[in-house]
């Protein structure tokens, strides 16, 4: 039996989701790929747990939840953090789930480059390095001859990157329009169904944990713009970076605007447009009952192709296990290629 040793960097909602999902799907991965996946290290922002013999995924999550940091992991807890972990133990694949940083893309950028230099495959859910330096990162992976997969960076569990690359591989992609941010879709959906004001719904969403304490990244369209850049680069071959996207968020949307849209049978959604002549995130009118009519935290994307015309996908755009599902799918496809 072959072994695949993984390091999970970043142990927030996504990192913990990966640990949980690995625990649940070990047998399935073994069946599908012939590999036994072993977590040899996991790290949060300040500490880690490291064991070449493999760590217990459940215990990792419990330790983080109960003690607040991974250094409290019995016997194998450590104060090592960041890039030094990649030197501390032998591994095959880095599962990188650190928080997105849209200023300098760290720590994801350094960790990813280091893993490439070590000849290791990388699976990421991070958007920062992809939105700022897509070309650099992807060509570094090619140069190192390793696999680099990032399905989880766009749309959470909604398949889009692998879907277009693999399943729609016969088609030229003309454009992609989609709802790529669940938080804003939730806020707009509630404003529509209740006729309430933006500020009220935002506050409630924060209390429910759907919006963050600092909601800027979501409501000002920054998160959606990062995903727009990733789709532009990976699926349309557009050499773009974050600053090439025109961005307008939803904070100016009033209940009056939603009411007026409703009069003509429209909804207002925060739409990412990815096309060779326009990279844009902005509130747009969409017809009720159309494929854009998805509510709550759902994400969707409509891919315009030459042969298959329009194809749409819908799925949960965020969430711990949901995002982990995309990362595991990436890991499985890497392992399948090893056979």
């Amino acid at each position: 039996m072959d072994e695949c040793k993984v390091i999970i960097m970043g142990f927030g909602a996504v990192g913990q989701g990966v640990a949980d999902a690995l625990f649940m799907k070990k047998e399935l991965i073994k069946e599908k790929t012939g590999f036994e996946v072993k977590v040899v290290a996991a790290a949060d922002s300040s500490s880690s747990a490291i064991s070449a013999e493999g760590l217990d995924e459940k215990l990792l999550v419990d330790t983080k939840k109960n003690e607040g940091k991974l250094s409290a992991y019995p016997e194998f807890g450590s104060d090592k953090n960041g890039a030094e972990i990649l030197d501390a133990v032998e591994y095959d694949c880095l599962i990188e789930a650190t928080p997105t940083n849209i200023v300098d893309a760290e720590p994801a950028l350094s960790l990813t480059f280091k893993a490439f230099e070590q000849g290791k495959d990388v699976v990421t859910s991070n958007k920062g390095h992809l939105a700022l330096k897509f070309k650099d990162v992807v060509s570094a992976a090619e140069k190192a001859g390793v696999e680099f997969k990032y399905e989880a960076s766009v749309g959470g569990s909604m398949p889009i990157i692998n879907f277009v690359k693999d399943t729609l591989s016969s088609c030229d992609i003309k454009s992609i329009n989609g709802i790529l941010n669940g938080t804003t879709n939730y806020i707009l959906s509630r404003m529509t169904s209740e006729g309430s004001d933006y500020e009220d719904i935002l506050k409630e969403s924060q209390e429910l944990g759907i919006a963050e304490t600092d909601p800027t990244q979501d409501v000002e369209g920054i998160d959606a713009a990062c995903k727009t850049v990733i789709l532009a680069n990976s699926l349309l071959g557009i050499d773009a970076t974050y600053s090439d996207v025109k961005v307008e968020g939803i904070s100016k949307i009033t209940s009056e605007a939603i009411e007026l849209a409703n009069k003509d049978d429209y909804l207002i959604k925060l739409i990412s447009e990815v096309s060779p002549d326009n990279l844009q995130v902005s509130p747009r009118l969409v017809k009720k009952g159309s494929s854009y009519d998805v509510s709550g935290t759902l994400n969707m994307a409509t891919v315009k192709t030459d042969l298959a015309d329009e194809v749409s996908v819908i799925g949960l755009g965020a969430g711990s296990l949901e995002t982990a599902s995309a990362m595991l799918t990436d890991l499985i496809s890497i392992l399948k290629n090893k056979n």
Partner: protein, 161 residues
């Protein structure tokens, strides 16, 4: 009777054949066809001009068949089909010379405002729903020009996807 049509086709093999087939198949006759593949309109489509002859009933069946097949008919007997477009503006719409804004929109070629609904919010910014009718194929130009007008007047535009 005769009927002149302009259709929009995708630039992929087999499109012209599927446009011509229903004509004889449904009992009408083709008089002329002009298909210039090297010209594409702003939607990236190739326009095809057709003239066909036949009984009114048969010509109607051909039109219905085209609609079933999903071909866009943009002109029948010289009359350009219109599309309805809704758009929302947000900002100091009245203070930034509403009349001038509407005049500027109406000045866009092939575009006419047919509906206007505004919600005022005291001294605050207001929201307006504007319905326009545009000649087929003018949509993107309308969006572009509207964006310029809105920028000049510091208005937020919410356009159709």
């Amino acid at each position: 009777m005769r009927m002149d049509l302009v259709l929009e086709l995708l630039d992929v093999p087999g499109q012209l054949v599927s446009v011509l087939e229903p004509i004889s198949g449904l009992g009408a006759n083709l008089v002329t066809v002009i298909h210039k593949r090297d010209y594409k309109n702003e939607n990236g489509m190739v326009p095809v001009q057709l003239t066909m002859e036949g009984k009114q009933e048969d010509l109607k069946n051909v039109i219905n068949r085209y609609e079933e097949l999903g071909f866009s008919i943009i002109e029948i007997d010289g009359v350009i089909k219109k599309e309805k477009i809704s758009t929302i503006l947000f900002g100091h719409i009245v203070d930034r010379d509403l009349r001038d804004t509407m005049d500027k929109i109406n000045a866009i070629e092939g575009v006419l405002i047919v509906g206007f609904d505004i919600k005022l919010n005291g001294e605050d910014k207001s929201t307006a729903l504007i319905n326009v009718e545009a000649d087929f194929g003018k949509k993107q130009m309308f969006f572009k020009r509207l964006e310029e007008i809105a920028q000049e007047k510091e208005l937020l535009v919410i356009n159709e996807v």
